[in-house]
Symmetry: C2
Subunit: 191 residues, 2 copies
DNA sequence: GGAAACATACCGGCTGGTCGGTATCTTCGC
DNA sequence: GCGAAGATACCGACCAGCCGGTATGTTTCC
């Protein structure tokens, strides 16, 4: 009478929070390793084992999805930075060191949230604005310890590094990441 | 009998080289200030005063168009770097200084070719590869003068700066670009 | 039973791309 | 010099496919 469902998500246990989170995770994954152009609601839904309609139930539009994705990644980054800062006894350049450690993350594996963050920033002016606001706020909060131009330069370098990460993508890092990190941390302690 | 043409390009003087160049210019312009998502063959053709069919005559596919665009911008950047290097008497860090000057370009106006370059790099793995090859080759050529890790760091910072340019886009540069450039150039002369 | 969590079917719009035609340019015989 | 003829430049209509989004149905949870 009725056609067989292509997905069994309708018969399985309903786990709205789990599905919602999985949608976000899959979106981040697709964004990082298949590129911005391939971030379609169809692809995300499939990757999460849900139909397009299912995705649209959780996120009213693609816009809402990307906004949620962005917000989550930003929250993660923000948390990582806070954690790194509270473990750092030296005041001068504390934020910059945390920023560098969070964005380079030599020891951690998996896709850097910054990657997803920045790529989505390139698309949407609203997200761009949100990122700018976050950065400006953070910078203003740590103005006294991290206002130095030399520290700004180190932060720029950190941005450049993960940009290279985005571009390289083949897993092969041409330079010694650990040595670079040390060098950057060193630079934040000078003077 | 026959419909009136919406464009008079068919009756005007044929200037294949001019049109082809204009297509590339318009593509770069659109890429920089309207973003990657709006880089459609339709939009590029319209901006250049040509129909879609006309564009497809010059570039067999959108892929070919972006490749040509990329190649041209890379050629420009390459030339700028060569020019800057030959005007620099100091050997150590010569390439890095040229790279920084070309990518920051505090005095020049207009869209930085790097912007178009990098954005297209984010799309297409083939272009990403091409960029990587170019950079690797250049780096290898100037290994003796620019192999130092500190110089690598300065180059990363340059990447970070124009990335911020891409994101900000509102014309308002929060920091003193000239001072930053001086600082970076200084760093290449140390030791 | 009602709301939430999905699936399914479908639509309009836009995209890159094809195709056949027309207008202009270039070449070349004379 | 000039006119035919082929090549080149470009137009305009059309197509298939995919995208985001909607409307509606069906199942599960409380």
């Amino acid at each position: 009478m009725f056609p067989a469902p292509v997905s069994l998500a309708n018969q399985r246990k309903k786990e709205p929070d789990v599905v919602r989170q999985k949608l976000l995770d899959c979106a981040a994954q697709i964004l990082v390793d298949r590129g911005l152009a391939n971030l379609t609601v169809q692809a995300v839904a499939e990757a999460a084992g849900v139909t397009k309609g299912g995705l649209l139930h959780h996120f009213a539009s693609k816009q809402k999805l990307t906004e949620a994705l962005f917000a989550e990644q930003l929250r993660i980054l923000d948390g990582e930075i806070d954690a790194a800062m509270s473990a750092d006894p030296v005041a001068h350049g504390r934020f910059t060191r945390a920023y560098v450690r969070s964005t380079l993350r030599v020891e951690q594996t998996g896709p850097c949230p910054c990657a997803a963050l920045s790529v989505s920033t390139l698309i949407d002016p609203a997200l761009r604005q949100a990122w700018g606001d976050w950065y400006k706020e953070r910078l203003n909060r740590h103005r006294e310890t991290d206002g130095d131009l030399a520290l700004q330069l180190v932060r720029y370098a950190a941005d450049g590094v993960w940009l290279e990460d985005l571009m390289a993508q083949d897993g092969e890092s041409p330079i010694d990441r650990q040595a670079l990190l040390s060098k950057m941390i060193d630079l934040t302690r000078k003077r």
